[in-house]
């Protein structure tokens, strides 16, 4: 059982890295935000793994809360994307350049 | 009565009130009344001042009790956890400086009388705040308070030059601000650092003395704390010295001065040259020497050379100027070089010469700037080629300016001569260089190109005096003599009483100091002694005095003059 613990942490880190890469590489805001969700999932996996390793209960609670936050963020975020879509008819991240010095 | 606090506060506070209450056309009368009141208070304080030089008493600064020679001391704790207090006091040096400040303040108001036409309220307000800042700088004993006043001088001058200046004013303002800022932030770091490292050794155990009080710090330095050693003190010394050197301004840091002077309104120039530059010299004598005697001693050759360069460079540059105001500005660089030279010669004659030169420079250069301002007001130009033959139409002006020019050039019989002559004589026996060259012939001093031939320094500095006569007389000649070739200069009106009154007062002062220097020198002497005593603690100077020195020929001269034989 023990290797699972370490492997899970590595898996979590890997998922987080992939999420970071997604944020850096994706042009589409929705894909980008999905990468953020992936990062949050990685954090959740780490929480559950730690809770499992140490025999703690609170890990599950934390995960539940983080899921709620993710849901709230998704709600607002997608609404913001819709608002931006109305401005540009697209939500490509690297073409947002109205604001500059 | 908190006399000194009143002296500091009155210009700014009453200035604010006057600007809020008085109508536009009366503000200048209000400002004049305020500066006159301030002058009266300063004279009153001078009357109550114990000029003998023996004054000393125990004073308290937070939990410490130390002997102090500051008179009329006022002490109010301010930020107690950090031991910051409102401590002001006056000794001989600062007394002379505030007398000068209060007097120059009056001239600054008078010379703006007709030349400032836009936004007079704000102008006089900033002028008065500037006076508060300078007074505070000269009177603060708490070093944090000193820093605050030091910085407070900047803002009003920033506005004075930036709003009422001439064409290039914004460039000049920013240059001036950034130079002084860079210097003074270093000073703040040094002050904080000194706060934490100050202390002394008692039976080999280090006793930390956290303080911003100059009195306490100067006292603990006598006990050879970490700041008393060369390694511990070199950085804070350099930080403080750079801050002061920017203000003086010493050679590599002087480039803000000509711009600031050229662009400033007359009042700004007068205060800048007359008083503000002295804060640098004052700071060195007040803080750098007593707190870091070892470092000051060790670095004296470098400072001496910088002073020499400043003297000659300033004079040479002044010769080629065509703008009268710029010429006077560069002459300031040259004259203030004499001050630094005098200070770092470390003997009584040079030191008293340095202090006197500060005062003389305040009188004569202020006079020159006043004269240039009056000329500018009439002709709206400062180019020398536009003048010539003015003495025909403006005889009073020409005569009074003549006195100022000769005073600045150091003509015997006028004040400039006394100060510079003392500095030259004193520098002929530049103590640190002689001692260092003697004790360590192959060492630092030798590397600086100085062996025992310190007369060489005096000779170099003397070329500055000669060059000074050259550029000032050239300027005078091209402005006042010769043909009246510009037609419009023919219709210029001579000075009104307000104007020639100012120049006359300054001329009288110049002549008086030149002919009867004794009272002033007597007033300066305790300040000189104090400065040299403070620097003698912990330096080879003290031991030097005790040894029977036979190897140096000029020993007799300086040992008599230095005044270090009186042990503290």
């Amino acid at each position: 059982m023990e290797p699972v613990f370490q492997a899970n942490l590595i898996l979590s880190t890997l998922l987080f890295t992939i999420g970071v890469l997604g944020v850096m590489w994706k042009r589409n805001a929705i894909s980008l935000f999905m990468s953020v969700e992936l990062m949050l999932n990685a954090a959740n996996l780490a929480f559950v793994t730690f809770a499992f390793q140490l025999g703690l209960l609170s890990g599950g609670i934390l995960v539940l809360f983080i899921m709620t936050v993710a849901a709230a963020e998704a709600g607002v975020g997608l609404a913001i994307f819709i608002a931006l879509f109305r401005v540009h008819r697209h939500i490509r991240v690297d073409e947002q350049d109205m604001l500059r010095g | 009565m908190p006399l000194l606090t009143l002296i500091i506060a009155i210009p700014a506070v009453l200035g604010l009130v006057a600007c809020l209450l008085l109508p536009q056309r009366l503000v200048k009368y209000g400002a004049l009344a305020i500066v006159l009141l301030d002058l009266a208070l300063v004279i009153f304080a001078a009357g109550r001042f114990d000029w003998s030089g023996d004054y000393q008493r125990e004073v308290a600064a937070f939990e410490h009790t130390v002997p102090s020679h500051f008179q009329m001391r006022e002490y109010v704790p301010w930020i107690e956890p950090f031991r910051i207090s409102w401590t002001v006091g006056v000794d001989h040096l600062s007394m002379l400086m505030i007398l000068l400040t209060a007097a120059i303040g009056v001239f600054a108001v008078l010379c703006s009388w007709s030349s400032i036409k836009k936004r007079e309220k704000e102008f006089y307000f900033f002028l008065l705040v500037l006076q508060t800042g300078i007074m505070g700088t000269f009177l603060a004993i708490d070093m944090f308070l000193f820093y605050i006043f030091w910085e407070l001088m900047l803002i009003p001058l920033y506005f004075l030059i930036g709003i009422w200046g001439s064409k290039n004013r914004i460039f000049a303002t920013m240059k001036f601000v950034l130079y002084t800022l860079a210097g003074s932030v270093l000073m703040l770091v040094a002050l904080i650092w000194m706060y934490y490292t100050n202390g002394y050794y008692e039976n080999g155990v280090f006793q930390q003395v956290k303080t911003y009080s100059f009195e306490v710090m100067a006292h603990t330095q006598g006990e050879a704390g970490p700041l008393g050693s060369f390694r511990g003190a070199i950085w804070p010394f350099l930080a403080l010295f750079v801050a002061f050197a920017v203000k003086i301004p010493l050679f590599p840091l002087h480039t803000w001065l000509p711009d600031a002077h050229t662009e400033a309104p007359t009042a700004g120039s007068v205060i800048l040259a007359g008083v503000l530059l002295k804060t640098g010299g004052y700071g060195i004598i007040r803080f750098c020497l007593p707190l870091f005697p070892d470092v000051a001693f060790a670095l004296a050759p470098v400072c001496t050379w910088l002073a020499i360069i400043a003297i000659i460079y300033g004079a040479m540059t002044a010769i080629v100027q065509t703008d009268v105001k710029r010429l006077v500005a560069y002459s300031s660089v040259s004259h203030m070089g004499f001050v630094v030279l005098g200070i770092f010669s470390f003997n009584a004659q040079a030191m008293s010469g340095a202090i006197l030169t500060m005062i003389n420079h305040g009188i004569s250069t202020s006079g020159l700037f006043l004269a240039v301002g009056m000329l500018y007001e009439r002709t709206h130009t400062r180019e020398m080629s536009n003048f010539g033959g003015l003495s025909r139409n403006l005889p009073i002006f020409a005569a009074l300016t003549m006195v100022m020019v000769l005073s600045s050039a150091g003509l015997p019989g006028l004040n400039g001569f006394i100060g510079e002559f003392n500095v030259l004589l004193g520098s002929m026996s530049n103590v640190p260089i002689m001692i260092q060259a003697h004790e360590n012939p192959a060492g630092f001093a030798a590397a600086m190109g100085m062996v025992e031939y310190t007369w060489f320094i005096a000779a170099l500095a003397a070329t500055g005096v000669i060059l000074g006569a050259v550029y000032l007389l050239i300027m005078y000649q091209r402005t006042f003599f010769g043909k009246l070739d510009e037609a419009r200069n023919g219709s210029l009106r001579d000075l009104v009483p307000r104007e020639w009154g100012q120049l006359a007062v300054l001329s009288v002062a110049a002549v008086w100091i030149g002919l009867f220097p004794r009272p002033v020198l007597n007033a300066i002497q305790p300040a000189t002694e104090r400065a040299l005593q403070s620097v003698a603690i912990g330096t080879p100077l003290a031991q030097w005095d005790e040894e029977s020195v036979t190897t140096v020929d000029v020993q007799v001269e300086w040992a008599d003059a230095s005044g270090v034989s009186k042990k503290p």
């Binding site: 953020v36 140490l54 934390l62 604001l99 | 950090f82 930036g162 920013m174 934490y196």
Partner: protein, 532 residues
């Protein structure tokens, strides 16, 4: 630690009075929604500012009435020491200023006032809770509460394209940052087996976690250094985004430029105060771990130095007032991070009562700086808002000739923002003095010098604005760039409250600048007579 949690009848220890200011904010927010629904458009525009502003003032009053206990309360979830309470008051004051700016903004841009004021109140709730939270999850959710509110407030002006873009960028980078924050929390949880900062500090102090094994055997699990550092590093990155510290500041210029001025003001002041207060609590807890300083010092130093230098250098070349303020805020966050740096390094230098005294001094310095920063920014943004200047430097040209008092106010704000080396008796000076003094004390002389030289650089662009306002020629009325645009000045004439607020800011800059101990003493007054 909850591994040994007996699941039984469990009565949480609650100090109900401590929750009153926060409940007030919650109820105020809901009241705004209800009133908005009950009254029409005009009605809500008339009443809601009063409700929101009143709620915020009442909430501040609760702190002054000492209803909030001075230490940890509510099952250790909150730690409302003097620092946290002062931070809360600063936050509430800043959001209060936003409500005073609200009416003109709502009317001018035709905004939904119900949502506007509700979100302000919820944002202030989130920020105050973050400032006093003693538990990582609470901190995270509070942060999300105010972050979501602020995203929406920045983009609430739907008619503005730039606001939409600013809102979008703020949101994307904010979400990215909060993922970092959560990941960091996970690793700290793995290291200390708890999310409560006080327990975490205890664990780090003793160096191991007691864990009950299968047969009741107690195992001592040593704290994993790796997890502590990874946890701190990720959390720090997450917070850096919120604080717009240097490598993570990309959103700041765009949000400052595109968002509406009142929201930007809160983003610039209150949200940073909240994040900083939380960072201070976090670092204090972590710094009990022995090896913490040796590693974390490098991270924090790098961030602080890069922020100070990059923020100031980038601000030099800005031609837009708002972007300039954004980069200047980067630099100011950097100065404050010097305080954090000292906090990180302190346990390595001293211990026991001396350490506590040292930490207290740092907290005082940081809170003073934050108060000063907030006041100065409120003044600067407030003046910019009411003269309708927005970002155009042209709008400030010769301002003093047209509107002398706002120009004077702006000049005071700029001088104070320069802080050290130029304007001694202002709060900007004192804040920097307090922080750099501590930095010098623990031996970071080099960093103090860098910070001070950075503020000399900053003098250049701040004074450039003063030069523009005071020394450049007056703009002819015909050339006035703003006539008829959405940026046309708000008429302050009727808005007495706005004038009062701005004059108060001016006065506070000098009062706290001359007597900084007044402000710090205020914190002690708040806590002394507390319930607990």
């Amino acid at each position: 630690m909850d591994s040994s949690l007996p699941v039984q009848a469990y009565v949480p220890e609650i100090h109900p009075t401590g929750l009153i200011p926060f409940l007030l904010l919650l109820l105020g927010g809901i009241a705004c929604l209800v009133v908005d629904a009950a009254t029409g458009k005009e009605g809500s525009r008339r009443y809601l500012p009063w409700i929101a502003g009143g709620t915020l003032l009442a909430s501040i009053t609760c702190f002054f009435l000492r209803l909030v206990p001075g230490e940890v309360f509510l099952e250790d979830t909150f730690r409302a020491d003097a620092f946290g309470q002062l931070a809360s008051i600063i936050i509430l004051a800043s959001t209060f200023v936003m409500t005073t700016m609200g009416p003109s903004l709502v009317r001018r841009r035709n905004l939904p006032s119900g949502e506007f004021y509700t979100l302000i109140l919820f944002a202030s709730l989130g920020m105050t809770l973050l400032a006093i939270s003693n538990e990582l999850l609470t901190a995270f959710i509070s942060l999300e509460v105010f972050a979501l509110s602020l995203y929406v407030l920045v983009g609430i002006d739907r008619r503005s394209r730039k606001a939409a873009e600013a809102c979008f960028k703020y949101f994307v980078l904010g979400a990215f940052a909060s993922a970092f924050l959560v990941f960091g929390i996970a690793f700290l949880y793995g290291a200390a087996h708890t999310t409560f900062l006080t327990e975490m500090a205890e664990v780090f102090r003793q160096g191991y976690v007691e864990s009950v094994g299968p047969e009741g055997a107690v195992t001592e699990i040593p704290v994993n250094t790796m997890y502590v550092f990874v946890g701190f590093a990720f959390m720090f990155v997450g917070i850096c985004f919120k604080l717009s510290l240097a490598p993570f500041h990309m959103w700041a210029p765009d949000v400052y430029q595109g968002g509406n001025m009142p929201a930007v003001m809160v983003v610039a002041t209150a949200s940073k105060v909240a994040a900083f207060a939380f960072l201070v609590h976090l670092v204090e807890a972590l710094s009990y771990w022995q090896g913490f300083a040796s590693g974390a010092v490098y991270i924090v130093t790098a961030v602080a130095v890069v922020s100070m230098l990059w923020g100031n250098l980038a601000a030099l070349v800005q031609t837009n007032f708002r972007r300039m303020m954004a980069f200047s805020s980067v630099a100011h966050s950097g100065y404050m991070t010097v305080g954090i740096l000292v906090l990180v390094a302190l346990p390595g230098l001293m211990s026991g009562a001396e350490l506590e005294a040292g930490q207290l001094l740092i907290r005082q310095a940081v809170i003073l700086y934050m108060a000063g920063y907030t006041v100065m920014n409120i003044l600067a943004f407030g003046v910019a808002y009411y003269i309708g200047g927005g970002g155009h430097m042209a709008a400030y040209r010769g301002l003093v000739y047209r509107r002398p008092l706002p120009a004077a106010g702006m000049a005071i704000a700029m001088f104070s923002l320069v802080g050290i080396g130029f304007t001694p008796p202002t709060i900007g000076f004192m804040g920097k003095f307090y922080i750099f003094k501590e930095a010098v004390q623990v031996g970071f002389v080099g960093i103090a010098v860098i910070a001070l030289l950075a503020s000399v650089i900053s003098a250049f662009y701040y004074l450039n604005l003063v030069v523009t306002m005071f020394m450049r020629a007056e703009t002819k009325p015909a050339e006035a760039p703003l006539a008829g645009t959405p940026e046309a000045p708000v008429q302050v004439g009727g808005e007495l409250l706005a004038r009062v607020v701005l004059v108060t800011a001016c006065v506070l800059i000098f009062v706290f600048g001359i007597f900084p101990q007044l402000f710090i003493g205020l914190g002690e007054t708040l806590v002394n007579g507390a319930v607990r």
